[in-house]
């Protein structure tokens, strides 16, 4: 990850901006939406329990520590995907979210909640996502002499 950020540093013009978007470790609830109400069936479980997201945070901190980028600001936002059926949602997660699954007890609760809510019910997963902005700092190339020396 640090190597990728070093490459981005090389590709950016002077004073360029890097915006990083990646999920956070906050568990993503599985929600059933109907008639303006939201029922929580459970949460998405990840094989690595968000370890990759911590690595991404640490990689950004590392390139700041190395003087490649300067921190400017960050925030979090909620990213929600909606499906009409649990099966559609499961298929989408399998295709787009490696290492994530919805446990059987959560699936059973979601099915019960959707049946109770009627045909207009939709199922959703709500992720908490971190977005950060850092600015490229120009650093001397390794071995380059400082002009003042």
């Amino acid at each position: 990850m640090v190597h990728a950020l070093q490459t981005v540093h090389a590709l950016l013009a002077a004073d360029g901006i890097l915006v990083d978007i990646h999920p956070s470790r906050v568990p993503a609830p599985v929600e059933v939406h109907a008639s303006g109400r939201i029922a929580i069936a459970g949460v998405v479980v990840e094989d690595e329990d968000g370890i990759e997201y911590d690595r991404a945070d640490r990689a950004l901190d590392e390139v700041v520590r190395l003087g490649l980028f300067g921190k400017e600001r960050h925030e979090t936002f909620e990213f929600v995907r909606y499906a009409d059926t649990l099966d559609e949602l499961l298929q989408n997660l399998a295709e787009t979210w490696e290492g994530a699954h919805i446990p059987e007890d959560t699936r059973a609760r979601a099915r019960t909640q959707m049946e109770a809510a009627g045909p207009a019910a939709r199922i959703a997963v709500r992720e908490t996502v971190r977005i950060a902005r850092v600015r490229k700092l120009d650093v001397p190339a390794p071995g380059a002499s400082h002009p003042g020396l």
Binding site: A14, G16, L18, D20, I21, L60, E78, R81
Partner: protein, 99 residues
């Protein structure tokens, strides 16, 4: 109905707060996938190079690219390392769920 991603547009709102005005900027998006985020901001940039090592995703993006973005967005099925011949070429880089 297919899966609907972020109809509330929280992602692009946060993106806009982070990037500010994109006018005149040369943008590199890393991990563009099928272009879901790309289409939401590309009209406001001078040009976008959107890359993803997943060539199947890039093929989908090529099929789904809005016609008015042709000529403004370049899609390539490559990784970051393959761009090293273009140092200092971009004003804004986006790591799009790819770090």
């Amino acid at each position: 109905m297919p899966i609907c991603f972020d109809p509330e547009e929280h992602e692009v709102a946060a993106f806009d707060r982070m990037t500010g005005d994109l006018a005149g900027l040369r943008v590199l998006e890393v991990g563009c996938g099928d272009g879901r985020l790309t289409w939401r901001y590309a009209r406001r940039a001078a040009g976008v190079l959107a890359i993803d090592p997943d060539r199947d995703a890039i093929a989908v993006a090529r099929e789904e690219m809005p016609p008015d973005l042709a000529g403004r967005v370049e899609l390539r099925g490559v990784g970051l390392e393959e761009l090293l011949a273009r140092p200092r070429s971009f004003d804004l880089a986006i790591m799009s769920w790819s770090l």
